[in-house]
Assembly symmetry: C2
Homo-oligomer: 608 residues x 2
Amino acid sequence: MKTSIATVSINGSLKEKINAIANAGFDGVEIFENDFLTNNLSPKEVKNIVKDNGLAITLFQPFRDFEGMPDKHRIRAFDRAKRKFDIMGELETELILICSNTSNISLGGVDRAAADFFELGEIAKDRSIKVGYEALAWGKYVNDHRDAWEIVRRTNHDNIGIILDSFHTLSRNIDLNSISSIPKEKIFIVQLADAPLHDMDLLYWSRHFRNMPGQGDLPISKFMNSLNSTGYNGYLSLEIFNDHYRSGPRNLIAKDGKRSLTSLIYKKNIEKTEKNEIDRIEFIEFATDKNNLKDLQTLFKSLGFTEIGKHKTRSINLFVFDQVKFIINYENHNLVKDGSKAGPFPYAYGVKIQDINALFEKAKLLDIDFINKENENSLSMDVIKHIDGLIYIIDKNNYEIWKKDFQFKLSDQTNDFYLKIDHIAKTLRADEMPSALLSYSTLFNFKKSPIVDIIDPHGITKSQVIENETKTFRMTMNGADNHKTVAGQFLENKQGSGIQHIALKTKNLIDLVEILKTKGQNFLEISNNYYDDIEARFGLNYNFCKKLKELNILYDEDGHGSFLQIYTHVFNDTFFFEFVERIDDYQGYGANNALFRIAAQKHFKQLN
Amino acid sequence: MKTSIATVSINGSLKEKINAIANAGFDGVEIFENDFLTNNLSPKEVKNIVKDNGLAITLFQPFRDFEGMPDKHRIRAFDRAKRKFDIMGELETELILICSNTSNISLGGVDRAAADFFELGEIAKDRSIKVGYEALAWGKYVNDHRDAWEIVRRTNHDNIGIILDSFHTLSRNIDLNSISSIPKEKIFIVQLADAPLHDMDLLYWSRHFRNMPGQGDLPISKFMNSLNSTGYNGYLSLEIFNDHYRSGPRNLIAKDGKRSLTSLIYKKNIEKTEKNEIDRIEFIEFATDKNNLKDLQTLFKSLGFTEIGKHKTRSINLFVFDQVKFIINYENHNLVKDGSKAGPFPYAYGVKIQDINALFEKAKLLDIDFINKENENSLSMDVIKHIDGLIYIIDKNNYEIWKKDFQFKLSDQTNDFYLKIDHIAKTLRADEMPSALLSYSTLFNFKKSPIVDIIDPHGITKSQVIENETKTFRMTMNGADNHKTVAGQFLENKQGSGIQHIALKTKNLIDLVEILKTKGQNFLEISNNYYDDIEARFGLNYNFCKKLKELNILYDEDGHGSFLQIYTHVFNDTFFFEFVERIDDYQGYGANNALFRIAAQKHFKQLN
């Protein structure tokens, strides 16, 4: 299947839009009429620009309020259509979209609409134009693709077909099996859009919240399965109305769109569940210059880590605590920016994966940079360099990396903490989230949670969880929309997005905290009012709650189990650590406690 | 009635919120529980801060999921309530809000709920605490204040009453007469919030879109009429959940809130329609330094204006075209900022009003600065100095201003243009719109239209019309949300909000344009594609449309009439003029054409 996108989906002048669409690798472009009308270019000039960019014009759209008009309005509708056909002739565009009538003066009736379309089909035929009819979800009489198809079927004219749009179908929850019975040659084009689930007026939802397939909550794959069953092999074309896309980075948005379509087409092609699981987050790399090395070493020690070895040839030290590996890279490389603020921070992480070649192929398809270990980088591992910094990839079948590159002596110390990496918390600008989400979820088999609002005293931070099915990879993405929130201050201090905190999981948090305190580790102090509240709210045992309060451990419950969590203070004005204990089968991330953590961080900062 | 606001309505730490609320002049504050819980202050410390700020704590809220709980959950709910009563004792707060249960495990039944409340009432009585029950619009069994009232009525306990919230009642369209039959002593407090009309899930709408009474579309005055009929004389308390307030300017938002309540209370007090009409926009003042005076004079001349006189003592020149007066103020005053970019721009306008004393009184009540003409200012007129720059106020009964201050000779030239000021178009940041709207609509009797989206090639501009009943004052407010749109570029170039364009109305636009062209005035060139489209869309006469195209006049129709409009090029990278003709009774502002105007402006800028 070929890919296309409507000009309305991105911002800029018509010329800028077409350039961005071509650069992103689409095969074709839908010309949204207002983009043409507001333009000073003649139809011929537009045609040439599109051609010069190697694109096809897949569709001219939309034509509104055509079918079922009474009397003189009907005559004018046909006149309007002929005028648009003239322009299409000059644009050398074959297909026009007519969306179902929303006018209050229009008349219903399937046969009346079919008669209108047959008459139009005859006019179109003479000009080699094809007309696609689309059911708008808020059309006056036709708001369901099944009704649109019935009209097209009765019209029974070679130049009249149907246009399917995933948003209009899925937003109304229309039975997808009804797509399978449409002959593929009568489907003139397919438009795709996803959207986050909001229970709101369909028109408002559609005009402001649409996004790329995979970024929202609509069951696009099911829609695709039904479409694929027809044998349809034409264009998949994005038509996205989104407030943020109207001002966001044009080229990035276009590339995201292409990536989302590639992913859908790829899914169809492989026709099976791929096995590309992440086994675990293998390590986290911290970057620093030499001056700050000692502070970082001290920090890791107070977190219970032991420095067990070094890279054989590079300035990289290895720290271990149970199953968790941290490395400090203090080579004078370009990871550390000039200026003291850029100083030490978690910079990258490595994941252990089942089949590196499959991932490599997929990254290529998705236009995601994958750097072979043969190329220069401090660790001899393959690297994905796209989503938000580096991700090292370690092949399950080639797991000799540590022995090969590092000289180390395993600690013979044992304990009961079973420390593992629970999750990584990344912070980025709220408007960068959809793009990051798409990269992660198309490359790996990640599921995403709905976005929740985290209340900061100075704004809202959007938070979304992505994790794989086996929960061996978990990440929270936190999107800041102003610089006054804790998330926003991180972006300002770090001068960009990155890992804001790392959560480590243990089977015995209370003991661990008590030991770390003896090692000099301090933790974030939580308001006494919080503990009075949770004791009553969860009906906690008095002594247990007293202990939590004494240690500053936060508490949560879900339907599966309970959760303990504690935070370190912020290091270098940017990152911090969390220790958690998941009791029974607690699934969440303590989102209910985030506002207490944030308030405590702000309070601590004010005092210090 | 006294005024109060919930801490959740503005941002900051609890201390910062209380300060801002006191500064805005409220009498009391609702403590939103999370603001208390996330805080390190003890209840006693909070109490003292509130008292020191001269405020009362009007309410502690919310307490969730109390009534109708089964078995052990019921016991825990009572335990939780007692704990909160303890805290209220220390806070010295009398009233707590219990909102209707949303828990899936809760049980229905009016008598069961009443029994729960009676038992709680007995506990509350011992501690001199009052419990107010509020129907959440999305409560499981109780989502209507009539049902909440029935429970309170059956509870029949002095310490149990009802809390009304305008959002919960109005969002569900509940019959307002049902409020009138509640005895005023059983209404423990009244919460107020408005909201723009969106057809969406009530909870989502409530949590993100609430705003101050008068800023939204809910019929708050009707709600107030019903409330007033009960004789209720307690607190009016704002409870606003709004995404923008969570990061916006705290003090300004608090003052807006106070102003909105003052306006409601004022309406109740005067109990009659006030007569405070604006007769017309009397003049527009342009500010410039001497260097740019000549350019501005040339511009006005090419717009058809005649320089007819000067101020007797100041460096102010007077220009007239029919009923429109422009003045240029080129004194070396503080209106013109340093730097060439700050140069000439429309700076202020004067309105002729029916009763200046009534306006003066109202402004005082609303905390809007009103400067007496006795104080220093270039024109001997009273001035409102608040909303967005200056508004000169000219009393109808004291309309000798021009003769007194100016030396001029009326032009004896006559023509058929009947030029008047149609409207002023102000541009401001999108997040400043609600505040500006509130100031205008509380001070004057203005109506507002719903906000519409204007599509710019690089973003969305929000546009809203405010006008008085007689349409003698019309203004469009355009809110920019990024710096790349035409509106946003204006804000950047002018370094702040202001008048971006002035629309002048004539009875004969085509002739006027032809004459102005001979005077050297150029107009914004509109895309040919636009004219092809409107000819077909409106079924326009070929020659008429050809004329519009030749002159670059835009066309629109509504149900009442038709509209012609034309734009000058942008002057000084900031402002421009529009000439319009309203044929028959056209009501709008050509919003459909805004995207063509904007695209043409961007195109012109790119070329030049």
